[in-house]
């Protein structure tokens, strides 16, 4: 049974039709690659699935039921975790505060619970070690390099057991070594039954981990096929429009 | 002889009216020789700030206080504190009757309002509609004047327009605008009675306002009866931009305040209420007042 399904989803921004009648399904434990040229609508699609945008037309199903996801908080509660392309970090907080934002570890009685600073910090250090990232948990995000920021955004998804993780170009800014770690992580997630949608412009990465690839072009889905039945050349042709559909 | 430091606390230092009171104190202090006049108040009309300044002056151990009360109850607390600290206190211009102040120096504000009403009646016994302009809505002395005007006109053919009085918050520019608004909202209005001199403190603004119907003012179709007699106002009256003024004597308030405090300091007895008097000025006698 499909874990997540989109039916005829369209999204308009004023005069721009960012998504045009897009449908697809994702099964539990499936790794789906989402590719397309810049401005093809990939991030818009992710934002619809994670409750930031409401579709102009069409509907979403989660676990077979119609879902109205009105806010990112709701999406999170459903088990949809997202690594946003613009990372969504609060610059004035530390890496560990960002990782735990909205899900802080607390101790105490009744409504007055205090933060467990140490525990959160320790867990953050662990997460960065797991990703082999050169990121310090108690540095302010403001002072971080591009790749360190991305590591924070990725680490965030590791806190709870999600059912589907949407990754919008998670490896764009990170270094060679961590790319391998993230791809490994995706495999481990799949093994735990978690579905992953991976957006990337790096053809080799998509072909290395995904089982299926969806290609978008100017808001429309132009292909949705198993990786095994495709090739980097075909996908490139689909992205650029040299090939109309496949 | 002993020398003393007396503080004069106005409602607000941005009101030109109090400049005259200040000048009075300064001149009298110089004349008396052994007295220093400290003029210190809030810049804008705000009672808590005034209270804090009084408190600071108590800490500074001034030898006497003369206060134009901005809020009776609030000032009462501070006045009593000062008196307990052994500092003689008097009020001027605006009173706090319930407090332990030794004396009030200033205008009888109820009478002041009545005088404005009477001047209007004298000008136009046949009546009509009139509107008032006031200053800060919270100022008790101004409320007394408004009451006074109404009392004097009670039983006459004068009726007050709705929306009167307007509150200019002692803002000169706003007061002129409100005069214009009163006239436009009530084209047949027969009199405008500002209970303080604010709109006329801006002479050309007032002239601009009056100019289009100056003939009506001359023929008393529109009567302009205004409180206060600052020099600019007298000139405007002389030039036909008002029909009558009723004035207080702020300079004298300053002078008498210093004398009264000095008497208190010397242990002499003073009257509890010292009215400085009113001046009624019309075209007939304006030359006596313009210097």
């Amino acid at each position: 049974m499909a874990l997540l399904e989109l039916r005829n989803v369209s999204k308009d921004f004023g005069a721009i039709r960012a998504l045009n009648d897009v449908s697809f399904t994702v099964k539990p434990g499936e790794i789906v690659g989402l590719m397309g040229d810049n401005g093809a609508g990939k991030s818009t699609l992710v934002k619809i699935m994670s409750g930031i945008y409401q579709p102009t037309h069409g509907e979403l199903l989660f676990g077979g039921e119609r879902a109205h996801i009105h806010s990112p908080g709701e999406a999170r509660r459903l088990g949809i975790e997202t690594v946003y392309q613009d990372l969504a970090l609060a610059d004035n907080l530390t890496a560990s505060a960002n990782i735990f934002l909205g899900r802080e570890l607390k101790a105490g009685l009744g409504p007055f619970k205090l933060l467990r600073h140490r525990a959160m910090n320790a867990r953050a250090v662990e997460l960065f070690a797991e990703l082999k990232s050169e990121t310090r948990a108690d540095d302010l995000v403001r002072q971080m390099s591009g790749g360190q920021r991305q590591a924070v955004a990725i680490a965030r998804t590791r806190l709870t057991d999600a059912r589907v993780i949407l990754m919008d170009e998670p490896t764009a800014a990170i270094s060679v070594r961590q790319v391998a770690e993230v791809l490994g992580l995706i495999h481990r997630l799949r093994d735990a039954g978690i579905a992953v949608i991976l957006i990337s412009h790096r053809m080799p990465d998509v072909f290395a981990v995904c089982e299926r690839v969806i290609v978008m072009r100017r808001g429309s889905k132009v292909a949705d096929k198993p990786i095994a039945g495709s090739s980097p050349e075909e996908v490139t042709a689909l992205i650029t429009g040299a090939l109309e559909a496949a | 002889a002993d020398s003393y430091r007396f503080a004069v606390v106005p409602k607000a230092m941005n009101n030109p009216f109090f400049d005259l009171a200040r000048d009075g104190c300064m001149e009298e202090a110089k004349k008396l020789g052994n007295i220093e006049c400290i003029y210190q108040g809030p810049v804008e009309h705000e009672p808590a700030t005034q209270a804090q300044i009084i408190d600071d002056l108590i800490t500074q151990k001034v030898d006497g206080l003369a206060i134009s009360v901005s809020d009776a109850a609030a000032a009462t607390t501070m006045i009593n504190k000062a008196v307990e600290a052994g500092i003689p206190v008097i009020t001027f211009d605006s009173d706090a009757a319930e407090s332990k102040r030794s004396a009030y120096v200033g205008t009888d504000n109820k009478e002041f309002g009545k005088a404005l009403g009477e001047e209007l009646l004298k000008l136009k016994p046949e009546g009509g509609t009139y509107g008032m302009i006031s200053g800060g809505a919270a100022a008790p002395n101004l409320a007394l004047r408004v009451d006074g005007v109404r009392e004097a006109l009670k039983g006459s053919k004068w009726t007050e327009v709705p929306g009167s009085p307007t509150f200019s918050n002692d803002d000169v520019t706003l007061a002129v605008q409100q005069a214009g608004d009163l006239k436009t909202a009530n084209p047949d209005i027969a009199a405008i009675v500002p209970v303080g001199g604010w709109p006329m403190f801006a002479p050309d603004g007032w002239k601009n306002f009056v100019e289009p119907f100056k003939a009506d003012v001359a023929s008393k179709k529109l009567a302009l009866v205004v409180a206060d007699t600052l020099p600019v106002q007298l000139e405007l009256l002389r030039d036909g931009y008002a029909n009558a003024l009723v004035g207080q004597r702020p300079h004298e308030m300053g002078v008498v305040a210093m004398q009264t405090l000095l008497k208190l300091k010397k242990g002499e007895k003073v009257d509890e209420i010292i009215y400085t008097g009113l001046d009624r000025v019309t075209a007939a006698n304006v030359s006596e007042f313009v210097k």
């Binding site: 004023g14 005069a15 721009i16 | 400049d19 000169v172 409100q178 909202a185 801006a202 050309d204 603004g205």
Partner: protein, 342 residues
């Protein structure tokens, strides 16, 4: 379905007129609110649209509108200027005092000479204040709020120091000329309104059609980006604060001409009204957004509310309450825009 496309993008339509430019701006929606308000007020009071009252409104709003143009520039760069009210007072005072002083000294080489010097003094004072603000903000990187709150106090204090709290009135041989160029009329139209129109058109051209104007927007959008692309950020900021002070000073001088005097408390507490006018007209305090037309519409709205309530003979105690309500309602209208654009 998508017939009319843009630059060959198959998924991009031409945008409709209400999705573009002025019609898609807060300014347009506030203008709508203003029109509604004017209609409502004209029903509430017959006198509202009488020529006399319209000319009152025109004059009154041009009293703050020139300063609002200036502060709009500052707000577009992401700054704020709380010292405008004080600057109005000090400029007006300096102008008056110079006329008084020159007359007393008997210095009058040619007709108009006292006026020219007095205006130079008034505008010069404003320019100095603006430069000090701009320098502290651009070069010393102080917060615009604290800096201009400081100058609010400093400049007002200096006005009191200069006049000992007394108002000053312009006098001397050039007084008539001074009154003519500040509170006079040309063909029945108040000169202050003409100045406003000229300055607004100028500001529109500069903001939309010069590199300097574009830099003003860029600084408000992303100051760092401006710096990185070689925009002279500091210089533009200083210029903007100087222009804002000059506009405020000009407004102050005009008011003092109309009043025939420059009271020391002239324009006290005007800063909030002026900022509100700019913000209501669509300027965004976060920077990057705003324009001349918005500033003017904001000023008209505020004056129409004030004047209309007086004319409608609303209880003065309630007036203040209603002014607040209508201000909020006017910006609430702008929500329709967001709703429509999804």
């Amino acid at each position: 379905m998508m017939v009319d496309t843009v630059q060959g993008f198959s998924n991009v339509r031409r945008s409709r007129f209400w999705q573009r430019g002025f019609f898609a701006s807060q300014t347009a929606y506030v203008l709508l609110a203003l029109v509604v308000l004017i209609v409502a007020m004209s029903f509430a009071s017959d006198n509202f649209l009488s020529p006399g009252n319209v000319s009152n409104i025109v004059r009154n709003f041009s009293f703050i509108a020139i300063a609002t143009l200036g502060i709009t520039l500052v707000i577009i760069t992401g700054g704020i200027d709380l010292s405008v009210g004080s600057t109005m007072a000090l400029s007006a005072t300096t102008t008056s005092l110079t006329m008084v002083g020159l007359s007393a000294a008997g210095f009058y080489p040619f007709p108009g000479s006292q006026l020219i010097l007095a205006l130079l003094a008034g505008f010069g004072t404003a320019a100095i204040i603006g430069f000090a603000n701009g320098f502290a903000i651009a070069k010393l990187k102080l917060s615009p709020f604290v800096t201009t709150l400081g100058s609010l106090s400093i400049v007002r204090g200096l006005t009191y120091v200069a006049t000992q709290g007394r108002g000053t009135a312009p006098t001397g041989p050039d007084k008539a000329l001074f009154l003519a160029i500040t509170s006079g009329q040309v063909g029945g139209i108040p000169v202050s309104f003409l100045y406003l129109v000229i300055l607004a058109v100028l500001m529109w051209v500069v903001l939309n059609h010069t590199a300097w104007g574009r830099h003003v927007y860029a600084i408000g959008g992303n100051e760092a980006a401006g710096r990185l692309t070689g925009v002279a950020v500091d210089r533009v900021k200083i210029q903007v604060y100087v222009l804002c002070s000059l506009a405020a000073g000009f407004n102050g001088i005009i008011i003092s001409g109309w009043l025939g005097s420059a009271p020391a408390n002239l324009a006290q507490a005007y800063e909030l009204t002026i900022i509100a006018a700019a913000v209501i007209g669509g300027a965004n305090l976060a920077g990057g957004v705003g324009g001349a037309s918005g500033a003017i519409i904001g000023c008209i709205l505020i004056e129409v509310i004030r004047n209309g309530l007086v004319l409608a003979r609303v209880d003065p105690y309630w007036q203040q309450t209603l002014v607040g309500c209508i201000i909020v309602a006017a910006v609430l209208v702008d929500r329709f825009r967001s709703l429509r654009s999804g």
